[in-house]
Subunit: 148 residues, 2 copies
């Protein structure tokens, strides 16, 4: 399940530097894991992968870095319908948002970019006088292979 690439990858570090945020070994390890991920990772998977780069990285540093990236609007947090436990999944936030569809039978995650979704967000901002910082549309149901 490849993520739609609508921006030059590999620049999470730069984006943090531009905002005057300190760069450290553990952070570099975690950022590189998120940047090179080809699927949605949860915190413990990010920890495990980050440790292959810098073995000393701690679990709480992963959570703290994820918080930082969320606050900076550089990653999105997903539930993916809690198909596997109660944890959350993370992915880099790129140009336009996309929708996540989770198949409740086979677990497949499908991503979808939609112009209608973009209009809907604009409509919300206009009609509700709400300034959107993050929008998450997650759908559960049956994928094309699993529906009867």
């Amino acid at each position: 399940m490849p993520l739609p690439q609508t921006e030059i990858p590999g620049r999470l570090q730069t984006q943090l530097a531009e905002r005057g945020i300190r760069m450290t070994g553990p952070r570099r390890a975690i950022l590189s894991v998120i940047e090179t991920a080809t699927r949605h990772l949860d915190a413990s998977q990010i920890l495990r992968k980050a440790r292959t780069v810098d073995a000393s990285v701690d679990r709480s540093t992963v959570y703290r870095t994820l918080d930082l990236l969320k606050r900076q609007g550089l990653i999105d947090e997903l539930d993916l319908m809690h198909l596997n436990g109660e944890g959350h999944y993370y992915e880099r936030k790129l140009g336009r948002d996309h929708i996540h569809m989770a198949c409740l039978r086979c677990g497949k995650i499908t991503e979808f970019v939609s112009r209608t979704f973009e209009s809907l967000k604009k409509q919300l901002e206009r009609d509700c006088h709400f300034h959107i910082l993050v929008a998450r549309l997650e759908v559960g149901g049956y994928c094309s292979a699993c529906r009867r």
Copy 2:
């Protein structure tokens, strides 16, 4: 923040009965709490309120009943942007879905029913051959009172 009422309330019990599901004291207590709720409740709030009806209700019965209602498609589970911890919120599922907007400054939850949202779901089902059972759109940002 009143919930949009697009169906006759008070019928959760009947809907379970129609599906041949056993009715018990604890269940009745929990269902009545959910049915009469005027805002989004988390599991521990549901437990506390249910205990005022039937003092013996246990925490795990609340979780088991919430699971049942989710599986039956009678309630929706929400994150509300995790403004207060990691728990989930529940609300009865009525005729049409609505969008939840959470203000990251004041915590206000705004609900919004949108025709565009309904079209978006139809479009998803058509274009992705995906059979939608549950759709959750949650937005975080600043409400009209809090935006500068």
